[in-house]
């Protein structure tokens, strides 16, 4: 087991180095001078040159990259050009926000997706299955950003039930925090539910066809016990793995939802940084999401191996 994890960690290192090179190159390719973008209405050529020199933006890109990675290895991700805030501090401020959003979306997805998937599997190829499937397909096909806009219009503007935007820390005010994050979590959770539902359905229907379930049924166990007690326990394995993967994507993928609901999390930080050419922030945050993504992939693999007795024996 340890060897397995160690191997995976080793493979992750070149991947991360490649990610850092990609991000660095890509942002250097972006048109638009960051200094000019930040100067806004005040672009006096002499001042601009001074800032460029101060930020070493005139150095060859390889030198810039080397400088960045050397500092990064020592835990220094640089400063935001825009707000003069250390990138590490920005990450520390935004990560909890995005994690809260991801966790709440995941809860929404689990609450809708798993029972829905079980129901569909049990009623396979019957009316209930089709209805659930159509719902899942619709949930999968709604553009998130549009759903977000429509919900703001309906729930916030017309009904006035939930705040339209912003973020409140749960430590500061728990209920307000939940209320503020509920709508974004529902929007993000919609698509997730559908993905979970479809996988639960296929995993469950595979298990329901197997011999031991037939045996359990033949023994006269009640359907409820068969489904939840026996079948689900076996079907849950790939779903837990999937959840770990989806969680990794959520940390990186809440871009538009955060933009629509003005949630000061990772996604909004990244997009705004791309648009204002705040290089250090783009670089630091994308690296951080890549680490999270790779870590969640690793967790998924380990979970899969750990929860699967046959694989566990082999490790």
């Amino acid at each position: 087991m340890h060897i397995f994890i160690a191997k995976r960690l080793l493979i992750a290192i070149p991947t991360l180095i490649l990610v850092s090179i990609f991000v660095f190159t890509l942002q250097k390719l972006l048109p638009g001078d960051p200094v000019l973008a930040l100067a806004g209405e005040e672009r006096d050529p002499a001042t601009l040159d001074a800032i460029r020199a101060q930020l070493h933006l005139n150095d060859p890109i390889v030198v810039q990259y080397g400088r960045w990675i050397w500092a990064a290895l020592q835990g220094d991700l640089g400063m935001s050009l825009r707000t003069n805030t250390p990138v590490t501090q920005l990450i520390a401020q935004k990560l909890p926000v995005t994690i809260q959003l991801a966790v709440m979306s995941m809860i929404v997805a689990v609450l809708c997706g798993i029972p829905g998937g079980i129901y569909a599997a049990v009623h396979k190829r019957r009316k209930g299955d089709y209805i659930v499937n159509i719902l899942a397909l619709s949930a999968l096909s709604i553009p998130n950003f549009w759903l977000g806009i429509m919900m703001i219009l309906l729930v916030s503007v017309n009904l006035g039930w939930l705040p339209a935007s912003g973020y409140v820390s749960p430590v500061e005010n728990f209920w307000l925090s939940m209320k503020t994050m509920l709508m974004p979590a529902l929007v993000l959770g919609t698509g997730l539910s559908a993905t979970l539902l479809r996988h639960t359905r296929s995993s469950m229907s595979g298990v329901l066809k197997s011999d031991y379930i037939r045996t359990a049924r033949a023994k006269g166990l009640r359907p409820r016990e068969v489904i939840l007690g026996h079948a689900f326990r076996n079907a849950i394995l790939p779903i837990i793995t999937l959840m770990a993967l989806l969680f990794g994507e959520l940390l990186a993928g809440a871009v538009l939802t955060e933009q629509i609901f003005t949630i000061p999390g990772f996604g909004k930080l990244t997009v705004d940084a791309v648009f204002t050419r705040d290089y250090a922030v783009v670089q630091g945050v994308v690296m951080c999401t890549a680490v999270a993504f790779i870590a969640m992939n690793l967790v998924a693999d380990v979970l899969y191996a750990f929860l699967n007795p046959r694989l566990r024996a082999k490790l």
Binding site: I11, P14, T15, L16, L18, V19, F22, V23, L26, Q27, L29, L30, P31, G32, L137, S138, L140, S141, I142, P143, N144, F145, W146, I149, M150, I152, L153, V157, E249, A252, G253, V255, L256, Q259, G267, T270, V271, V274, F275, V282, V286, T289, A290, F293, I294
Partner: protein, 287 residues
């Protein structure tokens, strides 16, 4: 996955077609997509107003007999812009997937077929690309190339490429182990012949399924980029760009934001249904 990659028996395509015709999901998908495609193709000859015809005395009007879906912020007919906008969305879906296929499939075949260091290099790069958030990458690429529909399609295509590489690689590795590939190697065919004649045809079905499903994702991605102002250029219409504008008039003209959203939704449902249907039809387990 390995099941789907089994070599198709002769006349497989006609069998697939037959099973597609009896697949409710595929039929429903086609029934949704076909009318949209036909409308989009016929846009120039349909009896609708020009999508660019402005009227500053009739801005943001609600749906009426004259303008079935109302007018936009410059008094243009929303229905007409929706029909013309369908071209942008469909094109974005198909072209970006074509880009992803053309770039991703060969790389995936190379990695899967040769293995070794070729595989090592391609796989590490693919993993690194997969670790970058899809939309962030598309946004950065679109910003790099400059906002336009073509560039949005390139950006989406390149962002979808790593998934294609990974899928193809897995399929090739499974096919490579089959007897007929071993046989082809034994009779001394060169790599190119083996890849094009024996490997490629057998990995096509799962790739078609994935491509169809990714068209759905690409349509949403194009709408997202246009929504951020990185897609279709004014005054040419696209559903995402219409939503971007409509968002500013939510309280005055809520229906303006409703129609393009519904159109995107329906088209995406259509491609998802079609993809599901194709998967069932191509998957021997479901026979």
């Amino acid at each position: 996955m390995s099941d789907t990659s089994a070599a198709l028996p002769p006349r497989a395509s006609s069998r697939v077609l037959r099973s597609l015709r009896h697949n409710p999901s595929a039929i429903a998908g086609a029934a949704i997509i076909l009318p949209i495609v036909i409308l989009a193709l016929l846009a120039p000859v349909l009896p609708i107003p020009s999508p660019d015809a402005t009227s500053w005395t009739a801005i943001r009007k609600a749906p009426s007999a004259l303008h079935w879906l109302g007018t936009d912020e410059l008094g243009r007919d929303i229905l007409s812009r929706m029909i013309w906008g369908a071209r942008a969305s469909l094109l974005a879906g198909v072209v970006s997937i074509a880009i992803a296929l053309v770039t991703g499939v060969p790389l995936g075949i190379l990695a899967g077929y040769f293995g070794g260091w070729v595989d090592m290099v391609i796989s590490r790069v693919t993993e690194a690309l997969l670790a970058l958030p899809f939309l962030i990458m598309a946004i950065a690429l679109a910003a790099f190339l400059g906002p336009s529909l073509t560039n949005a399609m390139i950006a989406i295509g390149l962002s979808a490429m790593p998934v294609m590489i990974r899928l193809t690689r897995g399929q090739v590795m499974a096919v490579k182990a089959e007897d007929y590939v071993e046989g082809a190697r034994a009779i001394g065919l060169n790599h190119l012949e083996i890849m094009s004649r024996y490997v490629f045809p057998n990995i096509v079905p799962p790739i078609i399924v994935q491509a169809t499903l990714t068209i759905a994702t690409a349509i949403i991605a194009e709408a997202s980029l246009s929504f951020l102002g990185l897609g279709q250029q004014a005054p040419a219409p696209s559903w995402g760009a219409m939503l971007n504008t409509a968002k500013n008039f939510l309280t005055q003209a809520p229906t303006y934001a409703l129609f393009p959203g519904v159109a995107i939704f329906l088209t995406v449902v259509g491609f998802n249904l079609l993809g599901d249907g194709l998967r069932d039809a191509l998957d021997p387990r479901e026979q």
